[in-house]
Symmetry: C2
Subunit: 364 residues, 2 copies
């Protein structure tokens, strides 16, 4: 039946997610497993979000509000009075990358994306018969000049993952200013800011500022899966010019955001104190991990996000498997032979990670 499917989807790989804890427990017969593989927030969501979620449960037999009316109002206020028509919610920011492809990519169009980065830009371009042009990082950072040079008259979307996953590095405001200055008017710059809330570096550009200043080419993607601790509920959003949002609306599934995600996200936005705790824990624990890496003589990339890329100086898949067997799930497969990514956890999780890494690396 091969002729049935579209030619360009035949060799699209099925995404390999970080292993779920239960799957690892099942496969390896382990009781305790620490998952530091998917950049989740170890403190979980705000208690206000959990309460709002519980309060919404009795209505779960009703369809969600397809327009996310209340959440849109709340997010608009959260950003100090953003136009609700500049907002679109989705089933995780994953789905926004899909919607951008569906709305904008004709066959033969091009998408420019950094490599390694969030691994959905490329397959979702190919899904629409567009060409994905991947531009290697330079010294673990996005090379905006090289990305700019890769843009042609066929380029519809350029992805800028900032901070970049899996490296944790950022591009600066002055770099982005220069990049946008040279971008053709009919090409969108998509800032994937999934880790926005964690950034400390004052040189970091807030993508929303470009929108506020009237730049109609900028699309900002953010999520409740990371700092807000709601990855299991699936909710992210795009901020963009109302005309761009209106195109995305045309390819959006009518009830793409579930009711409990809407309720929890709305409450999460109102709990600034929890967000503060999450960011501070992450900041403190990054320092702990840096010190431990230094102590062990392990090279790492200082990170503006909630994960750290480090050099195990051994085949990354071997290290991944050895860690897994000891009940610590981390992440490799980024195309850097000996580098792996660890999510910043609680002190206890980080200690277990360091302890296990040490034993794995001295074993070999």
């Amino acid at each position: 039946m091969k002729a049935l499917a579209r030619p360009n989807i035949h060799d699209l790989a099925v995404y390999k997610p970080g292993k779920p804890i239960k799957e690892v427990q099942r496969e390896l017969g382990l009781e305790e497993v620490v998952k530091l593989a998917s950049n989740e927030n170890p403190l979980g969501p705000s208690l206000l979000a959990l309460k709002a979620l519980e309060a919404a449960v009795p209505d779960v037999y009703l369809y969600p509000d397809g327009s996310s009316y209340r959440l849109k109002q709340t997010l608009s206020e959260y950003y100090g009075g953003l136009d609700p028509d500049q907002i679109l919610f989705a089933n995780g920011s994953n789905e926004l990358v899909q919607q951008l492809s569906l709305a904008f990519l004709n066959p033969g169009d091009e998408v420019v994306a950094p490599r390694p980065s969030f691994p959905r830009y490329e397959p979702l371009a190919r899904m629409m018969n567009a060409r994905a042009v991947e531009v290697d990082l330079t010294d673990f950072r996005l090379d905006l000049e090289a990305l700019g040079r890769a843009v042609t008259e066929r380029t519809k979307l350029v992805y800028i993952c900032n901070p970049n996953n899996p490296t944790g590095t950022i591009v600066t405001k002055s770099e982005v200013d220069a990049f946008l200055g040279g971008l053709p008017a009919d090409c969108l710059a998509v800032f994937d800011e999934a880790y926005f809330e964690y950034v400390d570096d004052p040189a970091y550009p807030d993508g929303l500022e470009y929108l506020r200043n009237g730049n109609r080419q900028v699309v900002v993607l953010r999520t409740f899966s990371k700092c807000f601790g709601l990855a299991g509920l699936r909710i992210g959003y795009a901020l963009a010019d109302p005309e761009i949002i209106a195109f995305l609306e045309r390819v959006r599934e009518p009830f793409n955001v579930n009711a409990l995600a809407q309720a929890a996200a709305e409450a999460a936005l109102r709990d600034g104190a929890h967000k503060q705790r999450v960011v501070e824990l992450n900041r403190r624990e990054k320092q702990f991990l840096y010190r431990e890496f230094d102590r062990l003589g392990i090279e790492y990339i200082p990170s503006e996000a909630n994960f750290i890329l480090f050099n195990a100086r051994r085949d990354e898949q071997e290290v991944f498997q050895a860690m897994l067997r000891q009940g610590v799930i981390i992440r490799g497969g980024f195309g850097y032979r000996t580098w792996l990514r660890v999510t910043v956890g609680t002190r206890e999780q980080n200690e277990k990670f360091i302890h296990t890494l040490q034993s794995v690396l001295t074993e070999g």
Copy 2:
């Protein structure tokens, strides 16, 4: 910026969902609103499902299991040992229609669909630059012979909504047998069986039986949004040949089904008693509504689902608005000038509906 978007999405309409209760309350300043517009289950989900949902809440900061491993096992058992590779879960069965388009529709391909029916087949074909060929119902029933005649060598998908929404009518096993017998080998027959659990008519064909008998052209769509009362959580599934499922997997977003939906759905499948209660209430209340329609001299279409199409003999939009002003949300806009659809509710809701309808129709 119009040139940015793909030409074929420009005039895709944004789906107009049934009005959420809160929106109606807000707009009209009404305290009590009865929503019988979206074919939700007024008894809500199984208590086991709610308990499982609650138990999954503490892990909501973790990504869901992208493969829905446990739920797939449970659904496989629920159907007496289906191959898990024949199952794919999605963010509501809406998303499955999108995935079918993404996996199978090349520009110029054709989709055959009944009209009126579930309103997503046509726009999601056009989204992929395919041609949607809509075939009018005959006497409020799908005309399988006419649908068969509309199939050409370019047809990739034929949708058979059974029972059909919004008419509640079914096509029979012998009609479907004949239809499938004449279908070209490279065309998929997609049975949208969202209302499967409600059907009483013994002539109704269970789409899964065709799969069990080795028919590799049949795709069955079912959902937890109706009889299982989980519309707010967004979860549906496709049953099909493993090769078809593998193509859909290539265009599936990695974490498309949220964690709470997976947990609740798994438990819901184990609560046969609740399903029974839901189906029995629906059966009893349909009879109540039939009697009341008869009493008022209102024509209606006997339904195998949890809704009834009836003839108000007045402009359907006028009736819709008049009902809305009195706090009863029903549904029109199906292209039948004077017919509207009402969801079967609890006795109290149905009485309020009948009472309001009577006052609206005698007013005019």
